[in-house]
């Protein structure tokens, strides 16, 4: 196509513009319109109508959306008589399972309290606490000094810590694996950077092949904790890092899932994530010492070498519904959920 005269670029003289008798310019078909014609007419002619309907619908939503969640109470069905309250929980992925469990059970205790539990990682949770985008932060590690200071400078409040449960990091292996126990030293050589052990023969001649390692991604509390307690220190007195070439999964469940499908796998994850398709290795602190299987009592007593506390953090002393919620979590009822989700209750 070649336009020698770009006609549509011309500006028409003003006296020709918009004359009074301008007819409707859409080409009309004859009277006998079939269905298809009608549909097309609706589609083509009534676009302003469509637009206004959409706009109307959206302003409808918009009105709802712009109202304060607290003020919307009157419109809610009569089931909820009290003012609805929202508690925002964010943080550790390890605890997302637990946090959701609590939040769902708490609905039965107080139907007007909505607890929105979100994962994202412990670091994210602390960041959210600083930005005041969450009320409670789940953490699978202790808060760091910088984080306390940052929260203090940003929000002006001190961080309050609650220990809510224990978790044991279990070392998972495929059920077909002949090895049943492993020591921390062996784990160190397997996982730490420049470690000597890369294949199963070095642990036990009964099984051959390269170890396929599965762990958590590098900003999860689980990763931090495992590194701190397994990798030990370098000769320079610094903390050793985990080696490269570990499949770093985004969720604790994915680690277990992968281990269950891989005969030569070794993985670490919270003990709450055990499924029938994987087995725990008993862990001993030193080679020769008795190995301990992860479990409730040993985790609480500290006999199991890689057990940790799980925390909730709030900025400042919790008040109102948040306080009630945390109190409920610490109560026997809340602790029952801990057990149900596969973690270790406090008592």
């Amino acid at each position: 196509m070649k336009h020698t005269t770009p006609l549509h670029r011309r500006t028409l003289p003003p006296n020709l513009v918009g004359s009074d008798s301008t007819p409707s310019l859409t080409l009309r078909s004859d009277r006998k319109r079939n269905f298809r014609d009608a549909v097309e007419r609706v589609l083509t002619r009534s676009w302003t109508t469509c637009l206004s309907i959409t706009v109307a619908a959206l302003t409808g939503c918009g009105q709802k959306e712009s109202t304060d969640p607290g003020a919307a109470g009157g419109q809610r069905p009569v089931v909820i008589t009290q003012k609805p309250v929202e508690i925002r929980v964010k943080g550790s992925d390890t605890m997302v399972q637990l946090a959701t469990g609590w939040s769902e059970a708490y609905r039965k205790v107080k139907s007007n309290v909505f607890v929105n539990a979100d994962g994202g990682g412990t670091g994210t949770g602390f960041a959210a606490l600083q930005n005041n985008t969450c009320d409670i932060c789940d953490a699978s590690r202790e808060i760091k000094k910088e984080e306390i200071e940052k929260t203090k400078t940003v929000t002006g409040k001190d961080v309050k810590e609650f220990v809510v449960a224990y978790d044991a990091l279990a070392v998972y292996a495929h059920p077909s694996n002949p090895i049943n126990e492993i020591s921390i030293e062996e784990l160190r050589e397997i996982w730490a950077e420049n470690g000597a052990v890369t294949s199963w023969e070095q642990i036990n001649p009964a099984i051959k092949g390269k170890i396929a390692l599965f762990g958590r991604q590098n900003n999860s509390g689980t990763y931090d904790y495992f590194r701190e307690h397994i990798c030990g220190q370098t000769s320079a007195g610094k903390q050793r890092e985990l080696r490269g070439g570990i499949s770093e999964m985004n969720g604790s469940a994915e680690v277990v899932e992968n281990v269950s499908k891989t005969p030569l796998a070794l993985g670490y994850s919270g003990m709450g994530y055990k499924t029938p398709d994987v087995k725990w290795l008993k862990v001993s602190s030193k080679k020769g010492e008795p190995a301990v299987e992860p479990g409730t009592d040993v985790a609480r007593s500290g006999k199991y070498p890689i057990a940790r506390k799980l925390y909730l953090y709030t900025a400042g002393e919790p008040a109102g519904e948040v306080k009630a919620y945390i109190d409920w979590i610490l109560s026997p009822e809340g602790q029952k959920i801990v057990e149900k989700e596969g973690f270790v209750p406090l008592k």
Binding site: G18, R240, G245, E248, N258
Partner: protein, 331 residues
């Protein structure tokens, strides 16, 4: 009645026409939207990454595979993205090895051999394939394709298949693939994702070849295949190249599929079924959990810049290739 309608129509007409000037201004503004969009993307990504740009050890970034963004207290972080780059290019490479022949073949079949209903059906199926979201592809890789590939690349230690796998770098160990989500799975999934794009673009390129070329070839006694091979391929060469490049761009930039299907393993792959990690998957997996404003956060934005520049370069280059062809055809 008719008079009334006419009057109403005229009034409405005048009301909207009175807005002509503002609407024209609005239209011109919106015309700039894509320029604004791309500039804003670059600006904001760069703004987030900027404080880290002078601080980052770029040589280390591009040559080391040691990716430890969250070191233990007291240790310096190590941002070596070499393995991530290798992961991205390895998956893309495998995807292209599969997607280019399949895509070009399917495009040729649809454009030159298929007729009537069959052609329409195939085109619609390809279009529907292109619409499947990437998370679903990832899911297919994780749940369906991964187990199949793991099944194929598994052998008892010492068996012949195991030895073959090690000899041909199909697997690092004689027992085969360590996990179902690996380089090959990711590559196949990426190939399946980029094939519909390659097919539709190559088909456009083939259709753009004037029919007189085909008629001339047929008149000289060539059959359809010879026409394709000797006439259409050379004539549509640039269009086909551009299609493959855009397929490559899509494979490089794909996120959710590789996040689910490549295995999150920061290592240089030594064999076809090693798990790897790509740049996109790293951003997706780690960004949600970094502290905003930290070094790690900014380095992830730098990875984003690398991706952005790579894909934009590919797109602009392929665009120029196609435009060049159009110009040549016109003159």
């Amino acid at each position: 009645m008719a008079e009334f309608q006419k009057v109403r129509a005229r009034k409405k007409f005048r009301f909207l026409d009175a807005l002509e000037k503002p609407i024209e201004v609005l239209i011109r503004l919106c015309g700039w939207s894509s320029i604004i969009g791309i500039a804003a993307i670059f600006l904001f990504i760069f703004k987030e990454a900027a404080p880290m740009v002078p601080k980052l050890d770029w040589i280390h970034f591009f040559t080391s595979a040691r990716w430890i963004p969250n070191p233990a207290p007291g240790n310096p972080p190590s941002f070596g993205a070499w393995a991530l780059l290798v992961g991205t290019f390895a998956t893309t490479f495998i995807a292209l090895i599969i997607a280019v022949p399949v895509g070009l073949g399917a495009a040729v079949y649809i454009s030159e051999f298929a007729r009537g209903k069959g052609k329409e059906t195939l085109k619609i199926v390809i279009e529907l394939l292109a619409a499947i979201p990437s998370i679903v592809w990832g899911f297919i890789g994780l749940m369906v394709l991964g187990p199949i590939i793991k099944g194929i690349f598994t052998a008892a230690p010492g068996s012949a298949w195991g030895k073959i796998m090690v000899a041909f770098h199909l697997a690092t160990a004689e027992t085969g693939a360590s996990q179902g989500t690996n380089l090959l799975t990711g590559g196949v999934i990426l190939a399946l994702m980029s094939v519909p794009l390659i097919v539709s673009l190559s088909e456009d390129a083939l259709r753009a070849v004037p029919d007189s070329f085909r008629e001339a070839a047929l008149a000289l006694g060539a059959n359809t295949w010879e026409t394709v091979r000797r006439v259409l391929f050379p004539a549509a060469r640039n269009g086909l190249l551009a299609a493959c490049m855009l397929g490559m761009g899509r494979a490089i930039g794909e996120t959710m599929a590789v996040l689910l299907a490549t295995g999150h393993n920061n290592r240089i792959p030594e064999a076809l079924t090693d798990p790897v990690r790509t740049m996109t998957a790293t951003i997706a997996a780690e960004m949600g959990e970094t502290v905003h404003g930290s070094e790690h956060y900014r380095v992830l934005f730098i990875l984003g810049i690398v991706l952005f520049i790579a894909t934009c370069g590919i797109n602009v280059a392929s665009d120029l290739i196609v435009k060049g062809v159009k110009k040549a055809n016109q003159s």
